[in-house]
Amino acid sequence: MPYEVKEEKGKDGRKVFLIQKENFLELMTDLRKQGYDHLSLITAVDFRDRIELVYHLQKSESNFELLTVRTVTYDSTIDSVSSIWESANWDEREQYDMMGVVFKGHPNLKRILLPEGWVGYPLRKDYDLSKNQYVNMDDEGNDRVSFDPGDGW
């Protein structure tokens, strides 16, 4: 392989791959070719100075054998895998919404749960919970977010 993959065993003996961010897309493309046809989940862990992304892949032909892929980003950007697995589209939007990870090459990277215009990313460690945000909607159904308690709920 043209890139280096560190392999380790998880607590329950499952395979875990650690990969450099630069070679991440290459590895994922190869894994898809090896039969990992189901992207089970994408999640992210905030370590303040870096964000670790965790991908769970499954192989449907061998009883949904699970493989975990971990990668680390220091600038909150990572290559999108939505061209490899269609389901990554919404999973990546969720991580963008909650963690602020920017997926490069994503076809429609916008918030999926929170309304457009929300300030900050709620699952980050540095998110300020003391400042309440209020949501209102105009006649066309577009959300409006403000810090003013009189405008919205």
Binding site: L114, P115, P122, Y127, L129, V135, N136, D143, G152, W153
Partner: protein
């Protein structure tokens, strides 16, 4: 058998209207979270709320009288809830079902949850619980009926 006695009852039109309204409360399907499962159980055959005239859950705000807000009201949902409430014709009633709807419940001080639906729409009956049992919701509907008939709830 005809006896010749003219049997009649006197009442006021208002009483008749109240009696009619209280026995034909059509709820609006407003399941937002897990409380909706208990609301469905209330509507189903075991604790059939059609006994109180509320059997028809309408999916349109124009055809419903009662909004059972069952489930966590998020800040994103609140403006939509308000609009749907505004689209309901008078007379209209609201039941707040579950602690999330009453004051935020386990999501109290959460960043994305409205601390009580009474900040958005006026509430007639509060049904506490997490989730309330179908019996509790049935009791809530009976309290609402008493309220419509201007009687003190037991």
């Amino acid at each position: 058998m005809k006896t010749g006695d003219a049997g009649f009852i006197t009442t006021t039109l208002e009483n008749v209207l109240e009696w009619g309204r209280s026995n034909s409360i059509w709820p609006f399907t407003f399941g937002l979270a897990c409380c909706a499962i208990e609301m469905m159980a209330t509507q189903a055959s075991r604790l059939d709320i059609s006994r109180f005239g509320s059997e028809v859950f309408r999916n349109s705000p124009r055809q419903s009288d009662l909004m059972i807000v069952s489930g966590t009201v998020t800040k994103k949902m609140a403006p939509r809830l308000k609009r749907l409430y505004d689209e309901m014709p008078y007379p209209k009633y609201v039941i707040a079902m579950g602690v999330c709807v009453i004051q935020g419940g386990p999501y109290n001080q959460g960043y994305s949850v409205v601390m009580g639906v009474d900040r958005v729409v006026p509430v007639d009956v509060y049904v506490p619980g997490c989730p309330p049992t179908p019996e509790a919701l049935t009791h809530g509907i009976m309290l609402l009926q008493d309220k419509i008939r201007k009687r003190e709830g037991k």
